[in-house]
């Protein structure tokens, strides 16, 4: 289980390999990679700068990760979130989850990215043709996170 908040890029293949290496209880690994798009709300995006709250970011990510572990039988998981200036095509965030079975891995991966978007203290400043502006939180992101408000009622695929 690990959380990293960093300026530098990450290697998705290497992280996937490292997460499952040597643990033969793992039967499924799910991942999500978030990228910077070149278009947002119909406007061109030249770059974005991610600001965060050092200390609280790690604390909130740890809480989200603990919640995922409480809900699903995870063998391992990893959250890597970048900050600083990023251009279209660059990777922003990586979530990897590993479990004995696919359902726990896939569901917990989606849960982590949905909750992360509404709980982790990051803010995006987008650079476009009209200058820079702070990205506003979206109601659809709140709705995506709210879907997970109740503990998952179906937890088949127990680790054993």
């Amino acid at each position: 289980m690990a959380i990293r908040v960093q300026l530098e890029d990450f290697d998705v293949g290497a992280e996937l390999e490292a997460l499952s290496a040597g643990n033969h209880r793992i039967g499924g690994v799910a991942s999500f990679v978030g990228l910077v798009r070149d278009l947002a709300e119909g406007e061109a995006v030249a770059a974005m700068t991610l600001e965060h709250y050092p200390g609280m970011t790690e604390k909130q990510l740890a809480k989200i990760e603990a919640e995922a572990r409480a809900r699903w039988p995870l063998e391992d998981c990893l959250i890597v979130h970048r900050y600083g200036r990023l251009e279209p095509g660059e990777r922003i965030v990586l979530v990897i989850t590993a479990s004995a079975h696919r359902q726990a891995a896939l569901e917990s991966c989606q849960f982590l990215i949905d909750w992360l978007k509404t709980q982790a203290p990051f803010w995006k400043l987008e650079e476009g043709p009209e200058g820079s502006h702070w990205v506003e939180a979206r109601a659809s992101d709140d709705a995506a996170a709210a879907r997970w408000a109740e503990p998952a009622d179906a937890k088949p695929d127990a680790a054993e």
Partner: protein, 83 residues
């Protein structure tokens, strides 16, 4: 106590971090926000619409009625947009 500002709250207040010593009757998040509004035009503008201001006390999300104490680290920021 220390107050931190992020994203456009930092831009509008013109500060990223400040030490403040509010009067003793300021004991809640709501009272602190009200007091901070009076600390200058930038603060007044930044805190004009509290529906878009989130507060953390000692790095945990806080509600208006939650206590604030000397020595606390208070952070003010817009709704988050990570991921």
């Amino acid at each position: 106590m220390k107050v931190l500002y992020f994203a456009w709250l930092k831009a509008k207040t013109g500060v990223s971090e400040q030490e403040v010593s509010p009067p003793a009757e300021v004991t809640t998040v709501a009272a602190l926000l009200d007091w901070l509004k009076g600390q200058g035009p930038g603060h007044a503008e930044a805190l004009a619409d509290l529906s878009v201001v989130k507060v953390a006390v000692n790095q945990e999300y806080a509600r208006p009625g939650d206590p604030v104490r000397p020595g606390d680290e208070i952070a003010l920021f817009p709704p988050v947009t990570g991921g």
